[in-house]
Subunit: 401 residues, 2 copies
């Protein structure tokens, strides 16, 4: 088939706060083939900026908008997706936002091709089986240790045996205050539960500040410390990794290409590589990281804080890796993220989450979400309308196709 159209849908909660909660808005992408079939994807990024990177006028040969490498291209087999990805990489080399924009488009290409082939994306990616993953509840630190205890307890009561807490006050006060939060979380989770901590880059490149937390992290038997530093501060990662005791380092969500993730493995000494399919360039790029992680003895984990469409996309690249069984699962998303799909990837009776068996990403977008959360966008350059969302909000027939 030929790629006929790519449309973007900016969705948002009525109020967007300063919480580190990426589920407050969303950018949905719909790719339509000339056979009338559509695929869906989601970008994890600033919606307006990502739309601009798709429609912007060309600046020069390697600063072309993402659209230039996608619209009108053939999509007949898996290799076409890799070919289009390489085109975007070359033609949009100097357009920094391009990987975030393209990530949602690429996911939609897998969804579209999977629907045509009647195969799930993980099968197109070369896996024979989608193994169950142990979901961890991904949540923010409370404003106090009591609030953190309360939130972790809530996750435990909902059946989670693994919890990750991050951001909020962690790293912003003293090491003793951080230790109190960890103790509260461990108490609520119980001795057997898997406890993970996300520092949200709070220490920048300051290895000493991070090292002050190593004792309490080990004391509470934390499995990984995530993103202590900037995503490409490989030297800082390596230094902390050499003195973090039983606690391993995790990172990679900030990677906007395959190399950034591989560098974190090669030069940063991480034990867990966390990939967001909505940022790294899509499922194909994520699969390359997964393959490399297997060879390097590093565990692959998805990064997902938003909808179940994004969750399905993020599960595909490591669906067939039995030993890489931890899965980030949005535990406190905003209502928008929940309403975005009619399909939900809920844990089975063993508490495991699976990538869908249905074709493509196997997730149905909820047609009602556009009217309820849609944000109109209009971009004019030089008197020409480059983007107008009003004219392209999908009707029900298109969504269900």
């Amino acid at each position: 088939m030929r790629i006929d159209a790519v449309d973007f849908f900016y969705l948002s909660m009525p109020e967007v706060t300063l919480e580190a909660d990426g589920s407050q808005d969303a950018l949905l992408v719909r790719v339509a083939g000339d056979n009338g079939i559509v695929g869906w994807g989601e970008c994890e990024a600033s919606p307006l900026t990502s739309i601009a990177a798709f429609v912007a006028p060309r600046s020069h040969g390697v600063c072309q908008p993402v659209s230039a490498s996608v619209i009108g291209e053939r999509l007949d087999d898996v290799d076409d997706i890799g070919r289009i990805s390489a085109l975007v990489q070359r033609n949009s080399m100097d357009l920094l936002q391009a990987p975030h924009t393209y990530s949602g488009v690429e996911a939609a290409l897998w969804d579209l091709l999977g629907k045509v082939r009647e195969q799930p994306a993980w099968s197109l990616l070369g896996y024979e089986t989608a193994f169950g993953k142990t979901p961890y509840a991904s949540m923010l630190f409370g404003s106090s240790p009591e609030q953190t205890r309360h939130d972790v307890l809530d996750a435990v009561e909902r059946g989670f045996r693994a919890v990750k807490i991050g951001w909020g006050p962690y790293g912003t006060g003293t090491a003793a205050e951080d230790a109190d939060h960890l103790a509260a979380a461990r108490e609520a989770l119980g001795a057997e539960g898997l406890l993970l901590v996300d520092a949200g880059q709070i220490w920048g490149e300051d290895v000493a500040a991070a090292a002050e937390r190593v004792a309490s992290l080990n004391e509470q038997n934390v499995t990984w410390l995530e993103e202590p530093f900037f995503p490409d501060s490989y030297g800082s990662y390596a230094q902390l990794a050499s003195r973090s005791g039983r606690v391993r380092l995790a990172g990679g969500e900030g990677a906007h290409n395959v190399r950034m993730a591989l560098n974190l493995i090669d030069h940063g000494g991480i034990g867990y590589v966390q990939i967001d399919c909505g940022r790294i360039g899509g499922l194909g790029a994520a699969k390359r990281v997964a393959d490399y992680a297997v060879g390097a003895g590093v565990t692959y984990v998805n990064h997902t804080f938003t909808s179940h469409l994004a969750l399905s996309a993020s599960l595909q690249p490591f669906a067939g890796l039995r030993d890489h069984h931890i899965c980030e699962y949005p535990a406190q998303p905003k209502q928008l993220a929940l309403d975005l799909t009619t399909t939900r990837l809920t844990p089975d009776h063993n508490g495991l989450v699976f990538a869908p068996e249905a074709p493509g990403l196997g997730v149905e977008v909820n047609p009602a979400v556009f009217a309820q959360y849609g944000v109109a966008v209009r971009i004019e350059v030089g008197g020409e309308v480059l983007f107008a969302s009003e004219s392209s909000v999908p009707d029900r027939a298109q969504v269900l196709r």
Copy 2:
């Protein structure tokens, strides 16, 4: 003073081609203090996308638009610029385009502070003297060796003793064809001239393909081979560096933060680090790279392919480094880039280029450029106008202030 307003001006040639020539459009930034003084900067990026990254609605706490960290901030001394840069880095962590947008803003902050203090930016950056630099003519390979010879000869006739040729057919055909281009360039330049080659990332991560060119590069006494690979393919850089003979590797223009440039030094084995102040986060970020390069025994070089406003910005961070004397100089820019400023940084009677002694960036923007090259932009989100260039094209008084 307080930062009262930041305005963007999208300028473009009537036709933008697929050449790898970044001087075909421009994004000018004007920052106004509450004292009525204005500073100017330039972003090296897709203008529409960079404007969007400034005005986009917030997605969450660390995906805020660049404006959130700039408008209303105090700017009283040099430390304020570093403080604002750190704010942008934190608050726009998940907005990929942010460093490209902020780079132009940051340059304008130095220009503004320099005008208030009546000091050139290089003096504010801590240098006592601005040393002369040897400009190299930066140009594209011709479509044939004959065309390359002709273009290099033209540069020689205009007084250049150093030439860099890049992009075009280089690396896209056989190693023998590339060797013919180099031989033609060397013949035109003469045995004494400094010859530099820019591969424009053409080999991706393919070390073997790059290595096939090592013999001809050495034979023509080329000083550096620039950007053979993706900007963060550190392993590929290191492998080629170990077998490139007398030819050193150069890279760094793709760095959109300090760490990327430092990683290329630490892990890539480059001999020359090339920084574009319009991408890396501005002059302060570039100065950090320059300081590190000095310590690491690596030569700092600016990356500049556009206007003399961008050239002045790019000269400031290494103006005081006497031994780092090579300077990229746009030799074939489009008319827009030439018309953009009334001030021109022309080589002196010794053929050397200097960062201006005038306050700030020391370059006057040409008021006529807005009417001739201005591109109207209008961005509406949720019924609200977030950006409308028509209402903010500067009058002459503002420009000359």
